[in-house]
């Protein structure tokens, strides 16, 4: 709760500061997010503030919410650290960018802590509406406009479906409160048809939000058309928030109905990882590849939802979202440097980066290896925790997930191959490494290394 207030106040301060002082914006937002991170840390590790942990039966900031808030705030802080260079060409709208990012983060915090369906809806809206604006912030770029329009249409469509589902839940259980819903459902042997439909509709709506197959079609175009850092934000913070909400809703409200919803969710998970991984193989553009990669990670993360009820499902999801976010942000940090200096976003933009910028190449290579889940990197532990959590219930799905992680090596390695083994054609384009980006990705890399050696520090958190 403290973190939420800090972020909200920072966002407002940034909006006003943007009117006259441009150079203050990044430090101000960074300090705000770091303060919020410290407040979350105080709640998690220390005695906590002791107030506002629960508010009007709407939020509850328990360790689950605080830990996920930590992930999202950390990811945002890293993105803001990258933005000093990433947003260097923005002038009058710079303050709006930071403000909107922070508002969106507030929405994510709501999604980590809601205990009432109303807050789920509000959280999703607070998270999404700033992003519709950010996705289209390059007004004169046709692909940016396409991205914004697609994102807005698909997003509002998904919200509509979600609202419909909530209304049906209310019809069946006469409550918006998650605990009450769970009590009404009981052990799920007498579910009215309306409730069954509502659960299916909620799965659809949330699948749209987390871009799970077959509701993923918007993601690649939106990811490709949005400004790079906004894409990184969508791929990390928004995804984490979407999954935490998915998990919370099903773990608190619908555990009794598990035998009913687990089959459709398992099918969505199976489809998501397979379709996304196979499609990713054929991509030539880094951002599209990362879009499909993020869809495939959504497929793995659904395993945590399926594992609800098993000890360690929430821990696995927390660890996975953190490693995935760190690796994705590091990869985008390297990508914006390369893409904006070579003017290309295809894989050959990375050719011989290993010689030109060894540090950048090493960061990108380790991020790719971590995303592919190669031991002993942190990404491997993420996959390992997820797979173990769901193994007892869905052995066949784990075998499929394992095959999919093997497929994913192919496209992640394309980047590694380009950087280290391919020669650049034509004259060599120099790639400079701006200091802000260097520090941000080094921090990200240090955190990945930390998670590799001490996974327990995060896994044991909740």
């Amino acid at each position: 709760m403290t973190a939420l207030l800090i972020l909200f106040l920072t966002a407002i301060a940034v909006l006003f500061a943007g009117l006259n002082n441009r150079s203050l914006l990044q430090p101000l937002s960074l300090i705000g997010t770091l303060l919020a991170l410290a407040a979350t840390g105080y709640d998690l590790f220390g005695p906590g503030f002791g107030w506002g942990a629960e508010y009007a039966a709407m939020f509850r900031f328990m360790p689950f919410a605080n830990a996920f808030a930590g992930v999202a705030i950390l990811a945002t802080a890293l993105i803001i650290a990258l933005s000093g260079w990433g947003f260097r060409n923005l002038n009058s709208t710079l303050g709006d960018h930071y403000g909107l990012i922070l508002f969106s983060l507030c929405g994510a915090l709501v999604l980590f802590s809601f205990t009432n369906l109303t807050m789920l809806f509000l959280g999703i809206e607070i998270l999404s509406i700033p992003l519709y604006v950010l996705a289209g912030s390059r007004r004169d770029d046709p692909s940016g406009n396409e991205a914004a329009l697609k994102y807005f249409l698909m997003g509002s469509f998904a919200t509509g479906i979600l609202l419909f589902g909530m209304a049906l839940v209310y019809g069946a259980t006469a409550s918006f409160d998650l605990a009450t819903i769970s009590r009404v459902i009981g052990n799920g042997d007498q579910m009215p048809g309306m409730l069954k439909v509502s659960i299916l509709v909620l799965i659809m709506g949330l699948s749209f939000k987390v871009s799970a197959v077959p509701f993923h079609f918007w993601a690649p175009d939106v990811y490709q058309g949005s400004p790079n850092l906004i894409t990184a934000f969508m791929a990390t913070v928004v995804k984490t928030a979407g999954f935490a909400a998915f998990y919370r809703l099903f773990a608190i409200a619908f555990p009794g109905a598990e035998s009913f919803w687990s089959i459709p969710v398992a099918l969505v998970a199976a489809l998501t990882m397979t379709v996304a991984n196979i499609t990713a193989i054929f991509q030539q553009d880094f951002k599209r590849m990362m879009a499909y990669s993020s869809i495939s990670h959504a497929g793995y993360l659904l395993l945590a939802v399926l594992a609800i009820g098993t000890a360690g499902a929430d821990k696995a999801m927390l660890f996975y979202t953190l490693t995935y976010s760190l690796a994705t942000i590091c990869a985008f940090g390297a990508f914006i440097v390369v893409a904006e200096q070579t003017g290309k976003s295809t894989f050959d933009a990375f050719n011989s980066l290993g010689k030109k910028q060894p540090l950048m190449a090493a960061v990108l290579a380790l991020s790719m290896l971590s995303l592919a889940g190669i031991p002993p990197l942190a990404g491997f532990f993420g996959k390992y925790f997820l797979f173990t959590a769901a193994f007892a219930k869905y052995p066949w799905l784990i075998v499929l997930a394992v095959i999919n992680s093997a497929i994913s090596i192919y496209y992640y390695f394309k980047i590694v191959i380009a950087m280290y083994f391919s020669r650049e054609e034509g004259p060599e384009t120099a790639v400079e490494l701006p200091a802000g980006i260097r520090w941000a990705v080094l921090v990200g890399l240090a955190l990945i290394a930390w998670l590799t050696f001490a996974p327990e520090s995060v896994y044991g958190l909740i």
Partner: protein, 483 residues
């Protein structure tokens, strides 16, 4: 103590990769491998009759039952001897070769050695798996950066093939892990994993998962297709690391992990596994006879020899396992010698084709003699190092099944055919203009080949020194795990 084997190369590798001391890299690498060799020699004096010694364990992810635990017994010791004895020799074989970006090259080699030592020392299932995969990353980069033609395609195939194989092992390992129950929690410790009583169906699938991983690595027919291309494309050092040491991870894994974890179904799948291994021996031997490229010939001969090791170990009787372990060491020594000879020939003559060689005996007598000793060892002539291992292995397979024993016995006959044919074509016959000027070995090359040839003879005369080291440990594991 056991941590040293991983720490020394890992620290040296970190120094090389991060600080990039350009001129000193090869010396630092050699010093690190020699330090490891010294530690191995020291460990020869430990007592291995009481089970695991030199244990080291720290919690890694305690809430998930993962501990970073290492330990060694006689079997591990021989694998450490293999790794740490061959490592300095392998570095010396390419001592004068100029690699671009030397610190990175040697850094990767050392990282791989650290991972290999880790594989052999691991006493925790997940730690074993992590080291098993970690060994793959540096060798992939070594082959893909410093390799020859088609390296990117070939090495990616190699990587995906072996990675997919070991993912099945991970699934099998997880299954067993989820059946463990130590005070209400799961555990990855070797003792806890082996204590699990699996149902026959589950044990069946666990064995298949492990077999896929190890069969790809060794490789056993029909999972061998990555191997000849990768060997030919890799730089010679990479080929030596792969064939000399890395293949043995698979055979070691069978002894330490596959059979002990799921002995319940071994008797139902064993006939299939051993038949595949024996078929692979025949298949690779026949292809080797027809090869005209010397490096490819050695690659196929390696498939045949390792196939025999696999068959002997999976027969799971004392001669089979003992023979497998001693043969892993001896095959490592011989194959490094053979690949070094291929490299010498290729660098001097610019070709690997047997048709372009001949008549070297006159111009390079020292080379021809050393080559002969190594060939004899590889053919398993009595009183060379190849003999005791292959004899015991054949004995083991024979005890398991008469006909399979007879068939795998053909490996020695075929081995003699293709190795002696190759030797004849390289060394004897009419000299060509290029081979007439063939320089004999220089001091460094003489040293390396001399050490290898010396080991061929010494280990051939005194196989008991090695067998004695492993006997107690093999007895323990065989009596603990009965099929």
């Amino acid at each position: 103590m056991s941590l040293i084997f991983i720490l020394i190369p890992l620290i040296a590798s970190a120094i090389l990769l991060l600080l990039r001391p350009a001129g000193l890299s090869r010396h630092l690498a050699l010093a690190a491998t020699l330090a490891n060799l010294a530690a191995t020699v020291y460990c020869l004096s430990c007592d291995y009759s009481q089970g695991m010694t030199c244990n080291f364990s720290v919690p890694w992810v305690p809430s998930a039952g993962i501990h970073f635990s290492l330990g060694m017994d006689g079997i591990t010791l021989i694998m450490l001897v293999l790794t740490n004895l061959l490592a300095p020799l392998i570095l010396l074989t390419s001592w004068e070769h100029k690699f671009d970006n030397e610190p990175r090259y040697y850094g990767l080699v050392l990282m791989m050695l650290a991972a290999l030592n880790g594989v052999f020392l691991a006493q925790d299932g997940l730690v074993f798996y992590i080291f098993y995969e970690l060994a793959l990353i540096p060798i992939y980069f070594i082959c893909a950066i410093w390799g020859g033609q088609d390296r990117i395609k070939v090495t990616l195939k190699f990587f995906i093939y072996t990675f997919v194989g070991s993912l099945f092992m991970l699934v099998a390992l997880l299954w067993v892990y989820l059946q463990t129950n130590v005070n209400g929690a799961h555990s990855f410790a070797w003792a806890d994993l082996t204590a699990v009583q699996l149902s026959p169906t589950a044990a069946h699938w666990v064995l298949v998962g492990f077999f896929l991983a190890f069969a790809v690595k060794m490789p056993v027919f029909p999972f061998h297709t990555w191997q000849p291309d990768t060997y030919v494309t890799s730089p010679t050092t990479g080929t030596m690391l792969l064939s000399g040491i890395m293949l043995k991870m698979g055979a070691y894994g069978v002894i330490r992990w596959m059979v002990p974890l799921a002995p319940e179904a071994m008797h139902t799948v064993d006939p299939l596994f051993i038949s595949l291994a024996v078929f692979g021996i025949l298949y690779a031997s026949i292809i080797a006879v027809k090869q005209s490229d010397l490096k490819r010939l050695v690659a196929y001969s390696s498939i045949a020899h390792v196939g025999l090791i696999a068959a002997g170990i999976m027969a799971w009787n004392k001669p089979g396992v003992q023979g497998g372990i001693i043969q892993m060491l001896n095959h490592g020594i011989n194959v490094v010698g053979l690949f070094f000879i291929v490299d010498l020939l290729e660098r001097r003559l610019g070709t690997r084709s047997l048709a372009d060689m001949g008549g070297i005996a006159k111009s390079a007598p020292k080379f021809a003699t050393l080559f002969m000793i190594i060939v004899l060892g590889s053919v398993a002539v009595p009183l060379t190092n190849g003999f005791p291992g292959e004899f015991l292995l054949l004995n083991g397979v024979w005890t398991y099944n008469f006909w399979l024993g007879v068939l795998s016995g053909l490996t020695i006959i075929f081995g003699a055919v293709y190795m002696l044919r190759a030797y004849g074509l390289v060394v004897f016959g009419e000299a060509r203009p290029e081979t007439e000027r063939f320089e004999d070995v220089n001091t460094r090359e003489f040293l390396v080949l001399g050490i290898i040839a010396g080991l061929v003879i010494v280990l051939g005369f005194f196989p008991q020194t090695i067998l004695g080291l492993t006997e107690a440990s093999v007895d323990r594991i065989l009596s603990a795990v009965q099929l």
